[in-house]
Symmetry: C3
Subunit: 318 residues, 3 copies
């Protein structure tokens, strides 16, 4: 993947995703060894809409690899840049930087940027479309908790209609294979048919749909929570009636397996009670950290900068 | 103080504040030696309200120690982050950074952050409440000018009712002891009773109150100027009548001691005439520089990163 | 120029500008050698109005020299800083940084800053007034394409009345000498008389005025395109009638010399068709890169930081 843009995970072969997962693990236990991997490199973060969590993750990743960061976020944009085409802005910035991470409210913006740029572009989210590094963070957290991303029962709970992170995770897990999905949502927010078809097309994967989190939580290895937004409902009564069903609290956690992992793409509103944070099964802040590690793995891989000691460590294992 | 958050100066023992003052002095004369003290460290500046001066001071401090900086300021904040609790944002950022400096318009926000964070939090101002590094800048400037922060006559002039920097400085100087305060303000902006009580409770400290800067300036070692805001007055006539009494100009400087030091937390409006800037007794821009040095001392101390040569230099002195 | 502010190019002697052009060329072919030239330095970018392209160029330049960057852009400014005088803000920031790059909407702001600052200030644009590093980028691109910035026919096309970059480039090229200017604009946007007088006062320079780009493009070595803004015209009919005359497309490029260089200060709207980008004569994205290299040359020169190997490389050539 050296020199390539990453607009979506869908065209990255599974073996390469496995390497990224390996590298993130290696980086985590070799912070000092990798601290100069990207010396002399400059990352540009072009955030046409602010996304503090994602921007800081990309930036910290590059800084902890020894690289440097330039960029803009939201209101720092000049009016001139606002009027300029994405093509021209990206073309200009690729004269300065070795790598671009771009966030844009419009679907397809990352693909345009990748075509315009003289340097690799990593999609940091383009509208409701793609957000590949979020899925990498999810996979890495599952890998860290279970030592694998297959042979698992994965529950996805909440808004399964509009949640792009959920669809992207299902797609990628289907490519790894051997996943039993439990799709937990109210009728108003069920998984779209094309996503169900995707699971059906995967010979080693299957799904069941459910409405009641408490009834199925005991079966799950992974519980991926998402936010149920009030504006998705026709009336407030429906929202209030359903909301509590999809709030994870310590009472529901008592019904879960002792090693279940709770993930959430954050930010949360109230769909995970704060009391759950202290439960060792809560993995959503670890997920933030794993996201940064995966971005370190991705940034260095795309730049072609080798992690010192990484190749040797693999030979020893092999 | 390794690993501890700094929400207020009030629970930092005086000997530790003395060490910070020593370290700032050492840093100033050993810029090159300390330039890699915090290599590999990442500071996050979370400025929920912009405060350019303070943010740049924290950031430069970390950069001049060899560390790196991520963060946001004001309008860079995403709407998601705006809706998120301080707890969750700080918890997330503490997955990226080794140290957080937070500015927030709400009183008590820094304490919440300190409890939520996995890494130390330094309060960079929370509403009208606390701003410990401003007081450290003040102390460091007094120390640099007089070789001590005790046995001094310290005048505080202007708005003594609402000025949090003034109250914090009085509190800290009372802990050091042996200070004679001269509290110079119009009736509308007198020092609150609880602050006067604090001075009275300090056996080696005392105060007098005054209305006329010119009448008392000759007694002062330190003159701490603050801004008199028009909106504090009931009517414009009172404001205009009083304002000039509290403007420091070269005429008033002629009445002052040859070694008096003029401090001001900045920004100033017109309470110190620009003509005073060239007077060697004007210490308010030095105060800015000392603030950065104190933040270098504080950041490295909280991170547990030793300043190369500092311990040895103390042994030689001892 | 060590320790000096750069408010305008007009008082930098031509031999020093030649050195900057040489250094930029050297930097381009010695990226690794110069990567630690400004270690320990801090640049502050004070952008009172956002100008993403220019800010990122200044910042990348310092980062690629091994220095560090602090700063603000537009909406990151605190209200306090907004109310503060430029003098005080610059005085404060010069306590933190070794070098300041300032962008300000008001003419003359950079000069005020240069007088206030304890460290050198580089003008990154003050209103419609001066923008010296843009002109350096222009010169560097011409130098790179032709090996010289004299003995050339230079066409300037579009808005020649209000374009400050055009006026600044003419002024500087007149100082180098031996330029034949072709000034291509509609009657509404002709070159001001004082600029024509400046050319006339230069014994080795001359000009012709033209209305039709196609009629003169075949004579040009350099074509400097600028934007024709609709709001400059009295009525929309005039604008629409004239606009196309000043749009550069592949049809017009067919009439040009095989080595002509097309420059543009960017951002463009539609005055250069995107189809021209792939023509090797299109130099406007190279111009962006050259701008960064010139800022590296300028920043290191003003700081007095020598480029490793540069002096030796000149001796070998001599």
């Amino acid at each position: 993947m050296v020199g390539s843009s990453v607009v979506t995970l869908d065209n990255i072969p599974i073996p390469e995703i496995r390497v990224l997962l390996d590298k993130a693990q290696y980086i985590d236990s070799h912070r000092k060894e990798v601290a100069n991997t990207c010396t002399g490199r400059v990352l540009a973060t072009l955030f046409y809409e602010p996304s503090t969590r994602t921007r800081l993750s990309f930036e910290t990743a590059m800084l902890r690899l020894g690289g440097k960061v330039i960029g803009f976020a939201g209101a720092q944009l000049s009016s001139a840049t606002k009027g300029e085409t994405i093509h021209d802005t990206v073309k200009v910035v690729s004269q300065y930087a070795d790598l671009i991470a771009m966030r844009h409210p419009k679907e397809g913006a990352a693909l345009v940027a990748a075509h315009s740029s003289d340097v690799p572009v990593i999609n940091a989210g383009d509208g409701g479309h793609m957000h590949p590094t979020q899925t990498l963070a999810d996979l890495s957290t599952i890998q860290a908790r279970f030592g694998r991303v297959t042979d698992l029962t994965v529950g996805l709970c909440g808004d399964l209609t509009f949640g792009r992170t959920v669809h992207s995770l299902i797609e990628t897990l289907c490519r790894f294979g051997n996943i039993r999905f439990v799709l937990i949502s109210p009728d108003e927010l069920k998984t779209p048919q094309y996503v169900l078809d995707r699971i059906d097309a995967s010979p080693t994967c299957s799904y069941v749909e459910a409405k009641d989190l408490s009834a199925v939580i005991g079966d799950l290895d992974v519980l991926y929570m998402t936010r149920v937004q009030q504006e998705r409902f026709f009336n407030e009564d429906d929202y209030l009636r359903l909301r509590d069903t999809y709030i994870l609290d310590t009472a529901k956690m008592r019904l879960a397996k002792p090693k279940m992992a709770v993930l959430h793409p954050l930010p949360r509103v109230n769909e995970i009670a704060k009391e759950v944070d202290d439960d060792p099964r809560a993995a959503y802040f670890e997920q933030v950290r794993r996201g940064m590690l995966m971005r370190m793995a991705l940034e260095s891989s795309v730049l072609g900068d080798e992690l010192p000691g990484y190749e040797t460590s693999k030979e020893v294992l092999a």
